[in-house]
Subunit: 307 residues, 2 copies
């Protein structure tokens, strides 16, 4: 099954305690695509500028990602600069140049009409909703968002959430969206807004999936996948998008989206996030093998499984 991601393709300048890089390929749709490409066929809808050339294109092609949905516009690509201090959990944004991304209006190529799995990366909520509504064949939609939209466009976001099957956000975003500081209570409030499931990403502590009552079979307990304690975190950029790529990519490759499949997907999300941070930018995600991925899946599993 193929999966379509709609989001940003960008250039990043990143500084962390491990060093610094400039003008490397980044963006949510890029990390997502590369991570998902180890599980299924990936299609991308994004906009880039004239600085996006054959070198960048090749990164997608090498992983078999379908880039026919990447629009080439006049001007420069989205460019972000950020710095991580010793606490690697949060980036200080040095600059954000939206450039061609400022007027991004996702256009879905005809060839993508048979898409069944859709991931709406972090863009303006009305754009997300329009994409979803324009694609009749989609049967499972994942969605990301951020504090900027939660606070700035709550009504638009509420409309979007009615259209998605699973929302993937972090602890802070969940509490903000629900207006509730207790995480499980916040999760239930978010589920009442529309999604069948909510994946809360905890960074180095893994992720928890909460299910709406009755969704994906019987049971009411949440499920938690740990993250591997990693000694070499070079660059946390894109960890969340890589998580989403592993999670959604694994789902799209399965025959059905059951509760058990969602649990395994949560582990694969953590696996892809953990690879992403080991090198700057997308370097690690470009050169993995499915064997390496499955070996880490086993490590993650053994990390919490009793005999």
């Amino acid at each position: 099954m193929s999966i379509l991601v709609v989001g940003s393709v960008a250039f990043d300048d990143i500084t962390s305690p491990s060093g610094g890089v400039k003008n490397i390929l980044g963006g949510a749709a890029t990390y997502f695509s590369l991570a998902a490409s180890y599980f299924t066929q990936v299609r991308v809808v994004a906009v880039v500028g004239e600085d996006f050339g054959p070198e960048q294109e090749k990164v997608f092609q090498k992983r078999g990602v379908d880039t026919r949905g990447i629009e080439h516009a006049r001007g420069k690509s989205f460019h972000w600069g950020g710095t991580y201090s010793h606490n690697l959990n949060e980036a200080k944004t040095d600059f954000t140049h939206l450039n061609v991304f400022e007027h991004f209006h996702p256009r879905i190529p005809r060839e993508y009409d048979d898409t069944e799995f859709l991931f709406l990366a972090n863009i303006q909520p009305t754009l997300q909703a329009n994409v979803r509504r324009s694609m009749n064949g989609v049967r499972f939609t994942g969605c990301d968002t951020m504090n900027y939209w939660i606070q700035g466009t709550p009504k638009e976001l509420a409309e979007t959430l009615k259209l998605v099957d699973v929302l993937l956000i972090n602890d802070t975003e969940t509490k903000m969206l629900a207006g509730e500081s207790n995480l499980p209570r916040a999760a239930h409030k978010v589920l009442a807004l529309g999604p069948q499931a909510l994946v809360i990403k905890h960074g180095e502590y893994g992720a928890t999936i909460f299910f709406r009552e009755g969704a994906f079979g019987i049971g009411h307990h949440p499920f938690r996948a740990p993250a591997l304690p990693i000694e070499e975190v070079k660059d946390p950029t894109g960890a969340g998008d890589s998580f989403a790529g592993g999670f959604m990519g694994y789902l799209a490759a399965q025959e059905e989206v059951s509760r058990e499949v969602l649990k395994r997907a949560l582990f694969y999300g953590g696996v892809m996030g953990s690879f992403a941070v080991e090198r700057f930018g997308t370097e690690r995600l470009q050169s993995l093998t499915r064997e390496e991925i499955d070996a880490r899946f086993q490590v993650f599993r053994e990390l919490t499984h009793l005999e």
Copy 2:
């Protein structure tokens, strides 16, 4: 096997978003004792003042805890006051009256000489070391400490750490003790100071145990136990001490301390910590059954186990 805990027995004033209580029984040794009492015979060495009477004594007796090691001194017991805001992860200390605890010099009753399991709750490191050295029969020692001793008495703490088998501290304390911001790297540095194993408590995200190479059998991977996402957190006070009580109490009841036993102990630690926070003070820990404990152990297990 019986276990001895050396630490504080206190009175607490606690305010949280769920309400407030005054003069309730608290202290690390109290939470530890009650949690461990569901697994094994518990002995306490502590000091209390004249305000500690039959009502407080009864809480220990009901759980079969041996209180012959509790010294009754002239004056008032240790009294702590703290407030939790909506972020329940950290308490603001309103006051700390050490009272009789200020001159606490643990005295081990003769009847405790056959103790094999020892837990050194958070007290001055040299006192901890002296207790350990005075007890020749002890074959397994757990230890807690805090930022105050890590920063204030590093040399004394280093001596103590050479004598303990497992250290139980949180993320911040681990990083502070190691002088290293990456958690797995910090863990290895702490293990090099003496302990065979290090349990890092992550609060609502569970705990991770790191093993010294070659300790407790083969393998080099850490192990992580999740915490249950809890909707009703009334009072986080004593969660870490209850965790330690569940962890050490379970260990003391087993025939040997193997790696697999330590993993299960980590789950039981999380279970007891999760019960403790459901009510103010030690209320929940006073009235549990082993059936409730094992039922939650199963929930914790299913929380992360794939089929």
